[in-house]
Amino acid sequence: MTDDELDQRIRAAVLSDEPDTSRVAAAVRTQIQTQARHVPGWAVAAAAVIAMIAASAFSYRTFVKEQATPLLCVAAAQDHQREIVDGSPRQWLTDLAAIDSLAQKQGVPASAISALGTTGFTLERGRLCFLRKQIYLHLVYTKDGSEYSVYLRPRSSEPLGDAVREAKVGPEDTAYFRSHRLTAVFVALQPQAPDVLAFARAGLHSLTVADL
């Protein structure tokens, strides 16, 4: 194992753990607010500037970024290009029971895979991958000889919105949504696989019917 391979394994494992920073952030804000009453004016001004920057960033994430192409879609399109279009020599699970088991370990109910199977697209294989430092279940479906990637994980805080939306990322079309329990991104190369938006809409419908 080379240094690069070892480093990549370590980085992927550690970065898969997304710590919950909410308690610490809240505690720090509270302490700063308390102490700000007893500090010189320049420090209060500095804290105010930091707060304004943070508020701007929050507003941007909440109201603007959702309208732009989500970074998750960019990551998914890049992964699809590398793994499916370019055909990286990866190991895939092809047995449905094994894929179901893998999905459940990641918090994706096996019933979600069954639900997506009712959309007219055929599940071919599955594996795990990292998108933006988080683990996703990567499923590959086919229809009319074209391949479609579906990336699933338990509903996350990605600013995706709950309705199906589409975004073009280079030669790939992506469609994405958050259902009640899942975050999903659909990707396919254009113009070879034109049904990505229809697949995502059918997917959201079938997941909703299955209360997912």
Partner: protein
Amino acid sequence: MPHIAALLRVARRLTFDIASAEDLVQETMLLAWRGFRGFQSGTNARAWLFRIMFNAFHGAVRRESRLPDAPPSIVRPMLQEAVEIAEALEALPLEQRGVLLLCVVEGFTCREAAGILDMPIGTVMSRLSRAREELRRSLKPLVKAVYR
């Protein structure tokens, strides 16, 4: 708050305890806020925060005169691979683990890590090399069964 997730991720692997890690990051952020005048505009804010955190951590270790114990499973990795790597990291000596987390996980250069840890770059490089050797010994090759 910028960089707080990265700080907490590393803190959890230094202290082996979620509450202690959160305390350490909280102390770091407050020290940074109080010492903001000491930050030189245009320099690496992330490295500055990590330096504060490592100083606070080593100060706490010196006060308690012992290293934290390593209880099992401070994190709940979702993959067997991640479980094995978490265990291998826990088994590393603290000085090697710190260097590895900074250089490999957080992407600092050896020179930056040397500045954060306040030690010669040669020491950082040798600790990083030893940490990689230890991990290489303890990590099994990736399992290839079941897959096509």
